[in-house]
Structures are given as C-alpha cells and as structure tokens.
Symmetry: C2
Subunit: 249 residues, 2 copies
C-alpha cells in the first residue's frame, strides 16, 4: 500500500517509557491519537513502544521519521533524570540543544505567578533542539515541540490531549477512508478462496477478515472493507454480501 | 541497560494487523503477554504494531529477533488473503515454506471429526517455514510456530492465551524484578535534582518518576523503584522515602 498510494498521508506513534512496557502505567495515548488522525484522513501505519534508552529512541525516531509523513511521540520530556526524549531526538537528527528563550520566558512567568521556584530542574524543560517549533500546552505551560516531521509530546494523557487537539488542526489531512463491515457466521476457511478473488477485483479496496469467538462460543467473522472511493466501496461490499448470502451465512 | 545487563532475558512483541492500527479491533494480547513475561522474569523491552505489509513485517521481525532473547508475534496466520505473516517471516529468515506433514495430519483429522471440508484455503494453515517447531493450539488445532527466537501466534485472544499459557513454561526465565512505589504530592520539579543523585548512587536500581493528575486536579508523582536485588531496592526506597519526607510530601 505504501508503494501504490504515494499520496496517502501516513503517521506513526512512538511511545517512550519504561513504565508502559513494564505494565506499571497503561497507555492511553495511542488510541486517542489514532482516532483523531483517522478523522483527518491520516492513516496510522505503525506504532512502537520503547524504553527510556537513548539508542532505542534514536533508532525508532529515525526509522519512523524517514518512512511516514508524521511521527508523534509521547513521554519522557519532564524534568527528572529519566526524561531523555528531548536529548535523544536532538541527537537522532544531529541538532544541538539550546535553552529556548521563549520557553524560558513562558515557564518563568508561569512559576512566578504560582509562587513556585523556577529551579534548574524545571529549566531542563526549556532545553530544546535549536530551531524546534513549539506545541502549545494549555494545561501546564511547558510546551511540546516539533523537529522535522516529529511531534514531541508528554506522556500525561490530559496534557497530550490538550496539545494534540490544537495540533491536529494544522496537520495536512488526507482523503477520508470509508469502511463497511459485513458480519457473518461463516468461518474464514469457507470464504477465503472467493474473498481473495474479490480482493483481486477491487485492488483499491482493502478487505480485512477478522474471525472472533462470540460469547456463546460460536466462531464468526467480520469482513471489513475500506477505501477512499465510496462508490467502489459500496460495489465491493455488495459483492461480498452476495457471497455470504450464497453461502447461507 | 541493554549494554550493562547482558544476562537479562529480554523480549519484544510484534502485533501484526491493519485492524489494530485502524482502531477497528482493540489489541488484547500485549498486556497479557507482558504480564506473563514479567512473572517469568523476562523483560519486555519493545513493542511494535505494523500493518499486514510484507516489507513492514520483514523489517520489524528481523530487527527485533536480532536484538532480543524472544520475539512474540500475534496476528495474520489464518486462511484468508490478508494473512501474510507466515510467508513474510519465512522470507525474513530466508527459509522456504513447505506443507508441514504433522499439521496436515492434525488439521485433516480435526476437520474430518467435525464434518468440515479440509479445503485448499484451510490447507494454507499447514504451510510453514521448513524446520519450524509447532506451538500447540488447544482451542482450534491450527498451531502457531517457532522459527529461531520468533514465536508466531494468531491474533484471536482466546487462542493466543491458550497457546501462550503452555509456551511460557518452556521459556528461559530471568531473575525476578521487584519494585516499590513511593507516591507523593510533590511535583517532579521539586524532587528532580535529588532524585537524580539517588539514581547515581544506586545504578542497579531503576528509578522512574511518573507524574499524574488526580481526579481532584492535584498533580502528584509516583516514584517507582525496581531491580533484581531486593536488599538494595529496599535501601534505595528508604532513601527516596526520606527525601520525600524532608520535602513535606
């Protein structure tokens, strides 16, 4: 699909943090970003979860930035010793880190108005790659940032969502992907042959076959058709419906 | 950590399927595998979710197999046209596909006893890389398989769990990782400096700092310490507790 649909706007998510992989914290960001991307016609093609390890972050962000239109990262941009995302991403793109004047001003004013000391640890959140664009943080002020096509956000779901809700408005959207689902009580083995032929007839329509066990223990299959051309999609769906009907499913 | 703890048994999970990335189906396998790995002292270091695309699967499985002790994949080994996991993994390791005699026998007997035709589509599930070891499937017979350090399982949670519950018993376990959590009402910016010093004093103990908004809107921080040496872990935790206490948190 990547090769045959060059106009597709694609995205990847990179979740950074030992706490997610150890199961200590449940990720709540992937689904939120995915759903919102879909509404903009941006197709999520890959997700990676890595530990707070410099090499792991560098390798993942480099590979994903190279391959997809947009990359969104979550986690690791706070003020403690385990927050190494910013430094690792700067290193990945060979961009030096600087104390960002605008962020220093934002944070100084925020902490001053709250009567909180703007100490060295908190100043770490102003250290960004040179030339990074800021992502506004309406919750706790310390911004996310953009380097090349990589959008770096914190892991805390409330903050990430507030950031992403604005950020998504300025992303280049793609054509909407429509989908139709045909559910049937027929196993995959019965329909596989004919379904494969239908897929060949409609190369622009993606046909997925997802078997699942119902609570009753009965195996059923959901056939999900998707594509950007709604007329073709409707045609293909009709052919699939007829197939299922002919099989008594 | 990868470099300094060579004896650690590590793992990665590769989830394969357009339906997961499109949000159509929710993954239920990552958490299950992660939790069970932890109980065996095997540390989950990376997770990737990719589409049903040959190149994406080949690249991911090759990278992960090279880097971690174990790789577990879910999805894409059924009988329909979109099930390309087996062929892609065989290609990744340059191993030819053959019709596995044992699987043919298992499936033929299963379908015969259920009065179901063992057609060409269903025979696809017997096509495995030459030399693959089988993973027993107590639910629907068609087995998963092992090639090198890669353990290939279907996406359906009931089947994957039944397979994995047996499979995990034969994996080489690592030393148990213990953890302690110190919760406090202190922001990261207050503790970051001292916490970093504590981390330097206890290099074998991993100290993670996870801020989160409570429902009341109050920002609190969970400090999670983990390590395989419980005595050192207890010592480090005590030092962190004292720090928090001294800050009135």
């Amino acid at each position: 699909m990547i090769d045959t649909m060059p106009a597709t706007i694609t995205a990847a998510i990179l979740v950074i943090g030992n706490e997610i992989l150890s199961g200590y914290t449940k990720d709540e960001n992937i689904e939120y970003i995915a759903k919102n991307l879909m509404e903009r016609g941006i197709r999520l093609f890959e997700v990676r979860l890595v530990r707070d390890e410099e090499l792991a972050i560098i390798e993942a962000v480099t590979a994903l930035a190279d391959r997809y239109t947009y990359v969104f990262t979550s986690g690791g941009i706070g003020s403690t010793h385990d927050d190494i995302t910013t430094a690792s991403i700067a290193k990945a793109f060979n961009i030096p880190i600087e104390q960002n004047v605008e962020v220093m001003r934002l944070l100084a004013s925020y902490y001053a108005s709250n009567g909180v000391e703007f100490n060295v640890a908190r100043q770490k959140m102003a250290e960004l790659p040179v030339g990074a664009k800021l992502i506004n943080n309406p919750v706790s002020v310390a911004p996310g940032f953009i380097v090349k096509n990589v959008h770096v956000m914190p892991g805390m779901p409330d903050i990430l969502r507030a950031m992403f809700d604005r950020l998504k408005l300025v992303l280049n959207g793609g054509p909407m992907v429509y989908s139709r689902t045909v559910s049937c009580m027929v196993g995959e083995g019965v329909i596989a042959h004919d379904l494969g032929k239908i897929q060949s007839t409609f190369p622009d329509i993606e046909i997925g076959s997802y078997p699942h066990l119902q609570e009753t223990g009965i195996l059923s299959t959901n056939l999900v058709l998707s594509g950007i051309d709604e007329v073709k999609l409707e045609k293909a769906t009709e052919v699939v419906r007829k197939l299922i009907h002919s099989l008594g499913g």
